[in-house]
């Protein structure tokens, strides 16, 4: 699935300078990929933080976001900016509807029931996508602004690779602002600590959970759209792998922690890109790296890098 133009190894370039540019180029590429993982991981981590549910449908929500953007541009001829914003809004609404339709009924059921429901929603979205959109991949048009390639000090950098971390940073700041500086965010932090007491403080808990789903899904849509521009085609099953890797990123960073999710995403992105760049002979194992990290972290530090330490 890797088709980035940056991805060919500059074999035999010889001089140290080029080795350095090669390395820098891979670093930048890794940060861009990592931002995408991080952006998607935020949705996992926020939902988990608040209702202790691994929302396995999150990757498919991201896929829906891509299709919303695709149809916005193609069918309604929206300018790409408007189409992306509309896609984020629609995906946010989809996230809320999934919560209301699928997760609210099992809110007080054992956690395993909610988890199974999430897997069910995931399959539903994937197969609904196959039926409605068709299984054939669709080409995703990248706006000219992101398609350009800059040459900076010998580095060939596609505009998208620069924009991705920047957009991610803006969205991350917005989300952190919501969590730490608004009343909904304050309620989120309270619910993640003690849902019942929060309710007794007069907070409409379900409303706050809906907001959480909306914010997480909108972030996933943004991540998905940038993903679709990077590997410029979309299909109904495209959410599976990024979804699973973002889950790994969320666990790596410490699930429930938004900054941790971003950090986990960046580390995962860098690890993947650098490993494939430095050891192309094992490039085929790139997906295995993420899950290897997951196993490793679950064994040695199950609360993740920024998660709270477990009591002895």
């Amino acid at each position: 699935m890797e088709r980035s133009p940056l991805f060919c190894r500059r074999a035999g370039t010889g001089t140290g300078f080029l080795e350095l540019t090669f390395f820098l180029q891979q670093m930048i590429n890794g940060v861009a990929l990592g931002s995408l993982y991080g952006l998607i991981a935020i949705g996992y981590t926020m939902v988990y933080g608040i209702i202790r549910l691994i929302n396995f449908a999150h990757g498919d929500v991201m896929m829906m976001g891509c299709y919303f953007a695709y149809f916005g541009i193609l069918m309604f001829s929206l300018p790409w900016g408007a189409s992306f914003v509309a896609a984020m809004v629609l995906t946010a609404i989809l996230g809320v509807l999934i919560d209301k339709g699928a997760y609210v009924p099992v809110r007080h059921a054992p956690r395993i029931s909610a988890l199974i429901t999430a897997i069910g929603v995931s399959f539903l979205l994937e197969n609904l996508g196959l039926v409605v959109f068709g299984g054939r991949p669709k080409g995703f048009t990248t706006p000219d602004m992101f398609a350009e390639v800059y040459e900076i000090a010998g580095l060939m950098i596609p505009a998208l690779v620069l924009w991705t971390p920047l957009i991610t940073l803006i969205l991350l700041s917005g989300i952190l602002f919501i969590i730490h500086r608004t009343k909904a965010g304050r309620a989120m932090r309270c619910i993640s600590h003690d849902m019942e007491t929060t309710r007794l403080m007069g907070v409409d808990v379900n409303r706050v959970i809906s907001i959480t789903f909306a914010v997480g899904s909108a972030a996933a849509a943004a991540g998905g759209i940038m993903w679709a521009m990077r590997y410029p085609e979309i299909n109904p099953l495209m959410g599976i792998i990024p979804g699973l890797k973002a889950f790994v990123a969320a666990v790596l960073g410490g699930i429930g922690n938004v900054t941790g999710a971003m950090l986990g995403g960046l580390l995962l992105g860098l690890a993947e890109i650098l490993l494939v760049a430095l050891m192309p002979e094992i490039a085929g194992y790139r997906d295995a790296i993420a899950f290897g990290i997951l196993i490793f972290i679950l064994i040695f530090r199950p609360t993740g890098l920024m998660g709270s330490k477990l009591p002895e």
Binding site: R186, E196, T197, R199, L200, M201, G202
Partner: protein, 256 residues
């Protein structure tokens, strides 16, 4: 004026009857005590009034509207706030934020208003911060407003819970063992604090407490529960001399 009535409340958990045919009227401005041995069903009564449980049978009315069966947040909004037997503060949040969450239901700004910092939200945020500071001053915690709630000593955590409950703007305050774990000095301070808050905030109080000296001193009326059933009701003086109460607390007197 009757503020709260509970009629024939029964709460069953499977085969266990935790509370049986419980009746209660509270006049506006009263301080009423609910006492009884451990497991008598006192906290269950609180949980029903606060909306944590829906009673198996019976009706709760608050200011002429039925509140039993409503969600807890609606009941809080209607004007009933509570504290907990085991302190349940939000440990991740600062002291003042713990109080500010209580204002949540009294704010009209939407999520977007808050995110975009619209003028209404900024006014309300200021109202929240000012109000929370005022409440912290009331309970003597304004100096530690920015500290983490769990770094406070026990007695202060209790007072913080009280301030947080007040932030929801209650008319009826439910206090679950407010004096638990306090030394006699702290208990005396708490007693004065509750009496002062009642006057200043026009409160009605229903409290559960095991410290009999405290209960007898502060309550105007007391209800005694044992095994989910009301066994006595009356003024502190009447309760102290009621043989059924003495029996429930001390066990049946052995007759030789």
């Amino acid at each position: 004026m009757i503020l709260l009535t509970a009629e024939a409340l029964t709460m069953r958990f499977g085969g266990l009857v935790a509370v049986n045919d419980f009746n209660l009227h509270i006049e506006k401005g009263e301080i009423v005590g609910l006492i009884g041995p451990n497991g008598a069903g006192k906290t269950t009564v609180f949980n029903m009034i606060a909306g944590y449980y829906t009673p198996s049978e019976g009706v709760i009315r608050f200011r002429d509207s039925v509140i039993s069966g409503l969600k807890a947040n609606r009941i809080t909004k209607a004007g009933i706030a509570r504290t907990f037997q085991n302190i349940r503060l939000f440990s991740e949040l600062s002291v003042i934020e713990n109080v500010m969450i209580g204002y949540h239901c009294r704010i009209r700004s939407s999520f977007f208003g808050a995110t975009l910092r619209l003028p209404l939200y900024r006014r309300e945020e200021k109202m929240m911060v000012d109000g929370a500071m005022k409440l912290l001053r009331e309970v003597g915690l304004e100096e530690v407003a920015r500290e983490r709630s769990t770094s406070l000593p026990y007695g202060k955590q209790r007072r913080l819970e009280l301030a947080r409950a007040l932030a929801t703007g209650p008319q009826l305050l439910l206090l679950d063992e407010p004096a638990a774990g306090m030394n006699p000095n702290e208990t005396q301070e708490l007693l004065e604090l509750i009496l002062r808050l009642r006057t200043d905030y026009d409160l009605t109080v229903l409290l559960i407490e095991h410290d009999m000296k405290f209960v007898m001193e502060i309550c105007e009326r007391i209800k005694v529960l044992d095994y989910g059933t009301t066994i006595a009701e009356g003024t502190p003086h009447e309760i102290q001399n009621n043989p059924r109460v003495i029996e429930a607390y001390l066990g049946e007197v052995q007759r030789a």
